[in-house]
Symmetry: C2
Subunit: 416 residues, 2 copies
Amino acid sequence: MNHGFFTIISRAEFEALLKGFGPLDTKRIPLSQASGRVLAEDIVAAHDWPLMNRSCMDGYAINARDIFGATETNPGYLECTASLSIEKAPDISLFPGECARIATGGILPEGADAVVMIEHTQSMNDEEMGTVEFRKSAAPGENVMMRGEDAQTDKTALAAGTVIRPQEVGLSAALGFEELTIYDQPRVGILSTGDELIELSETPRPGQVRDVNSLTISALAELAGAVPTRYGIIKDDLDSLKAALAKALAENDVVLLSGGSSIGVRDLTVQTIESMDDAELLAHGVALSPGKPTILGRVGTKPVLGLPGQVTSALVVMHVLILPLLRHIQGDAGAFDEVRRPMRQAVLARNIHSKPGREDYIRIRLEERDNDLPLAHPVLGKSGLLRTMIQANGLAPIPADSEGLYEGQTIGVWMV
Amino acid sequence: MNHGFFTIISRAEFEALLKGFGPLDTKRIPLSQASGRVLAEDIVAAHDWPLMNRSCMDGYAINARDIFGATETNPGYLECTASLSIEKAPDISLFPGECARIATGGILPEGADAVVMIEHTQSMNDEEMGTVEFRKSAAPGENVMMRGEDAQTDKTALAAGTVIRPQEVGLSAALGFEELTIYDQPRVGILSTGDELIELSETPRPGQVRDVNSLTISALAELAGAVPTRYGIIKDDLDSLKAALAKALAENDVVLLSGGSSIGVRDLTVQTIESMDDAELLAHGVALSPGKPTILGRVGTKPVLGLPGQVTSALVVMHVLILPLLRHIQGDAGAFDEVRRPMRQAVLARNIHSKPGREDYIRIRLEERDNDLPLAHPVLGKSGLLRTMIQANGLAPIPADSEGLYEGQTIGVWMV
């Protein structure tokens, strides 16, 4: 393979290659630690949930046909025969013309099929029992959560591959799952290369740069639920890089090499990847700007990526490609879906030119406006400056087939 | 105070009360753990960054006036006198008519004021030195990051109150900050009350419910960077609740009480809060649906909140009010800003009716469409069902002064 020039592929092609990796192994963890992880086994309900028909409101359990047609001006009247405890199944049944006081969560008694909110009723005496006026009718099932509406006995309540949000934690708790089987969080090894790099504790001489990239990339990997390990600054020679990559591969699921963007460093990254056993170079550039000099290799079943040396470019590549990869190998099938991007609509404040043939990511600072979409200001400045990413709160993708975007146009801005 | 009826305040009024709390104490932590936290002290640069004028590209360092007017058809020619190492300051100066090979990140030599990308040049012989053809002119400063563009000596590079994203980690690293002073992560105590509640390990009898809320609320609090502690199921009596609240207040910065929504339980929550020393009830309901029976109190300097007992209502209240509170007391001044909501624009698939006078949060499932905004389907079903929050991937707020939203209307959907 000739490494002297780029074989550049589109973002879609690059993503297709990334989707070829994973998923990771699975493990059981306490439910209290499961939020953000991806379910690796179906959750099958041992019992219906709700267990019984339950009231959604504080009010009266009734039979809908007993107050059919009731209105403010033509109310209906029922006799309240009980005030039901929320903690246990009711020991009464409703007969025609009767109602029972019920609290939110309370179980409907036999003979009741709906609940009327307390606000639409009026007790005709000062006690809870006795005649109650209903100023509203109800449909059967109204204000009642029916048995099994959340989960049914022996049916899948949550399918493998579901991303566990707080609400999925809630349903798992309702069904008594104290542990869940989830996909492992990816261990990500991060190697910095570049003889100009120095430790944070050192003071740079002209030409030297503190190791900005490995800490930045580490913080980005955490956003996708990964567990990063930094392997420090590796010398820019093949033997040092080979030894460091072999160690990082042994200890991680993904390895990210952050080096210079120059052709020399890129070639060294490629040589290092290719020197491993069962290694394959999959992509040697991607049609993104910034982010073009991104290298993708495979060693065994593990992805190895060479990231651009400019930290601002690496940031964009991480957001666009690597964070979705890290979620994908956690079993999240929709990790690359556009819908998963934190995208806001905004109105562009000035024209942006873009070179067709590559997807451009423009840094955007959003200005909120009352009763209108935010205004999207492109952040000006050299793309290598960190300041441009610090002033920005979003990225606006410009499609590869576009020559730019126009002032006043509504665009999607991806919050970062 | 009469607890028999609600004193309901608007979301804006409730937020104004929440903004009265915090900020928490500060502490120093390693930069590698700072992502997501809020900076509590300005970062002042000890030196300019970049340290010198540096190239953004692989190419040739030139003086712009030497190739003024160069084009494809009328190229300019300069003599390359050096190939500069990236690691150290150049030991040459450029004289008129000269250029020097430079890599991304390399320092510009004396006499150079711009860089021309390698792609726009052609070496006239096979070696790096000698005559080089320039098919493009350059403006002074082009492709150069100027000294001090990211940070200037003794100036604030990042201000206290900045939320630390990966890019802020990067700038801190560039300036040599191995530790940062940040606001503490809030410790959040979570108490569940309700005699109908049972542990996850138990099998519910009719009327019993596993303690869904405390795990769900705990997972939500983590989304805002809080450290939750669950205090288990507390008996529905004043003495038990007082003892549990006192303990939770001693050990946390915020206490969340998750109880029933019924008037009786609400009154008990209010009594418990008011029984503490230096306690004040601040709000006794908020004009949100769901979420109306939300109680806000203050004990000493700490907020105590009574959340609705229906877990789906508690979820909405957490997203709308409590997660911003938890970020606010971490020193994040913009925590309540609308811009911080993960809001997507979508086209509503059907009419939604809303009662004026309260802000309604409608559960939405987004359907992605090619080349168009997603379609927003309201999730139907009793609001107390967990299924409705599991099928949803967003919430659509309907303002308090609106009677509803219309099919085909573009709305903001808050991803949850």
